[in-house]
């Protein structure tokens, strides 16, 4: 038996023994943190088992608590988890964004301090990039960090900080150098949220939820050992992290199985049949809707294949400027998907609460509103098209 077959069998065995029954059903994913909340006791067990094994971050080095798996082994792990319907044990900005950046840019000591905690879900991280005056033009940011003995003193304001009200720590872009040239005075600093100088105020979204906040720093402090990379050289790290973020968001375009397997569809067609009915050939009766769904399914499939091809192609590892292509296309696809669902469901998709709407219908309405942020968060569609023009197509300024 080949090593890889052995690995598959061992993985099957391990999952069978350790993945609790409740975690083999669809449901919410835990975000960890210093004071984690679990919607079911099995969630805690699952996180602990996966964290110990390093399989929350399967391909990160073992030295820092990761799973140390190869590309091929990771693929098997994902396939086997998919096969039993296992949900991820942990979701976090640490896994998707901060961790990969730390692995590339942090010192050995910093990695030892932060990476294992990301793997085990011990710290909930949030992202302090955007400011009221600095959104797309991120490098104009003005939150300041000034040296004071072994510490930095931080003053300023961030905005749109997702989950800042739950987070334990924030990875932050701060100005440590002069304003001009603006890219060269930025540093990448880790700040503890649990201190008097940090205040958060939730902001309500059009979907009715408050997933993000304003974050205020008033003489907040962070030890100098929390500065990642060199002082005033944080922009390189910031951009790299954005590529990881964009790759992560790309995947959303595929949210409901883009039909990677034979006969699998996106679920839109079933929804369409349910609300719009079928004709004598069992086709979706509304032919305009049917065409829109088919076009979306075809593009999702092409997009899924593209992400797969790019992963195969990225022999040098890590995302590149092509991450912008994925972010742009994936988020636009996801928005379009909800628009099509709304069209399929008619007024049943336009309830805000209560009767005569089912919880599933109300959830789709809220998700439709949430999806509008997809092409804004992590860099807008326009900004990603700029990146493609300049970095990939080399069009001039």
């Amino acid at each position: 038996m080949s090593d890889i077959q052995t690995f598959r069998e061992e993985t099957q065995g391990w999952l069978k023994k350790n993945c609790p029954p409740e975690m083999r059903k669809p449901g919410d994913v835990c975000w960890g943190g210093r004071n984690p909340s679990f919607s079911h006791p099995d969630q805690e067990i699952w996180l602990e088992k996966m964290g110990e094994k390093g399989w929350t971050c399967p391909m990160w080095p073992r030295e820092y608590g990761g799973g140390g798996l190869s590309h091929e082994e990771n693929k098997i792990l994902q396939e086997e988890m998919f096969a039993i319907g296992a949900r991820p044990a942990l979701a976090s900005f640490g896994i998707w964004m901060l961790g990969p950046a730390l692995l590339e840019f942090a010192s050995h000591e910093q990695k030892l301090e932060h990476i294992p905690n990301i793997v085990k879900g011990k710290i909930w991280w949030c992202q302090g990039y955007s400011e009221p005056g600095s959104g797309s033009d991120l490098a104009s940011l003005s939150t300041k960090a000034v040296e004071d003995g072994d510490n930095y003193i931080i003053n300023g304001q961030k905005i749109w900080t997702s989950n800042a009200n739950y987070a334990d720590m924030i990875f932050c872009l701060v100005r440590t150098g002069p304003q001009e040239p603006k890219h060269n005075g930025i540093s990448f600093l880790l700040i503890d949220m649990d201190q008097p100088g940090v205040e958060v105020k939730p902001i309500k979204l059009i979907s009715g939820k408050s997933p993000f906040c304003e974050t205020f720093f008033t003489d907040a402090t962070a030890p100098k050992s929390n500065l990642i990379g060199e002082i005033n050289k944080g922009w390189t790290i910031a951009k790299r992290l954005l590529q990881h973020e964009r790759s992560m968001i790309s995947g959303m375009g595929l949210a409901t199985g883009a039909g990677s397997g034979p006969k699998k569809t996106s679920g839109m067609a079933e929804l369409g049949k349910k609300y719009a009915g079928t004709d004598e050939k069992n086709r979706l009766a509304d032919s305009q809707l049917r065409a829109k769904i088919a076009k979306h399914d075809l593009n999702s499939r092409a997009f899924g294949l593209t992400l797969q091809r790019m992963a195969e192609d990225a022999k040098t590892g890590g995302p590149s400027a092509t991450a912008s292509m994925g972010k742009y296309y994936g988020s636009e696809q996801n928005k379009l998907r909800y628009e099509i669902m709304l069209q399929a469901m008619g007024t049943q998709a336009l309830g805000w609460e209560g009767e005569p709407f089912t919880p599933e219908e109300l959830a789709i309405t809220r998700e439709w509103l949430r999806s509008k942020a997809n092409s804004i968060e992590g860099g807008t569609s326009e900004i990603n098209l700029n990146v493609i023009s300049k970095r990939v197509l080399n069009l001039p300024n």
């Binding site: 369409g272 294949l305 091809r309 195969e312 742009y328 080399n394 069009l395």
Partner: protein, 379 residues
Amino acid sequence: MALLFNEEQQYLKDTAKDFVQKNAPINHFRELRDSKDETGYSKELWKQMAELGWAGVLISEEYGGSDFGMVGMGGILEETGRCLVPSPLFSTALLGASLIELGGKADQKKDLLTKIAKGELTTAFALEEGSRHTPYRISTTAEKKGKNFVLNGKKTFVLDGHSADLIVLAARTSGGIEDQSGISLFLIDPNSTGLQRKRTHMVDSRNASEIHLKDVEVPETKLLGELDAGFSIIEEVLERGQIGISAEMLGNTLEAFDITLEYLKERKQFGAVIGSFQALQHRAAVMFAEIELTKSSVMGALNAVDENSNDRSRFASLAKFKAGETLHLVSSEAVQMHGGVGVTDEFDIGFFLKRSRVAEQIFGSSDYHLDRYATLSEY
């Protein structure tokens, strides 16, 4: 599923690129068009292509082919597509070889595939009868008379039909006009009495013809595959054809896009190169995204044939849908972004627009495949 060329396939594609750039750049096509060449392609060039093994890419080694499969064929078609090279590659090496491989008896295969692989025999596939792709609406008839079949009817848009040495023709031997059963395939000598072929001059200056049949007698030994059961062969050949033409269309797209990008970086207006205008940059970036999706769809579909995927039919529609949509977009935008020179005959970019619309119609437009994909997905 592999979505990148392996080393061997990449080598084949690189060789094709070199060969085409050297021996058949776009000017080669322009000269054929301007001289109103009778065959519509260069026989000398086809001979060289056959010597490189391209005529036998899909043919097994047993019959002298190189057996590189559809991925190999796709790589070559992409490169010939870049330079709009007219040649029997599609109608003979892809369609003809596939028809005979899938439908032929041992002696037919031995005889015909060997000749195709050597570049000694060209073929044409006579299927369509109307102006829109409706593969099973066949009213050309073949009636049994003694040891012969007698054929009557008319075929349209037969690629390479005016020049091919052998015509593979679909005729109705039983059933109603849209029935899938009752269709049979025949190997027909174009010089048969009662057969007339008329070259059609299409907007892309490539090679197509009408075929008129009046009491054409064909010996029963010239039946390809079983009587009344041509459907399953046609279905599979059409899918290979849809995927192959998609690879060629991807090549068309890539070249039109490259030419346009170059122009965006060199043409100046308002004291700046036009490629610095965001209105054009964003449209170029959107095209880039669509092209990446098209590459993956074509690659997935080529592999689906070689890997014998049970989802091959949907892959064929995915490839043809995406290749059609993207070539349509890029060829239109390419003309627009060139301004006035874009609509001149002297500049090559117009060739891509013309070729685009014809290629879109070959074996079903994007709309056709959108509908087919939905039907195959059961909605």
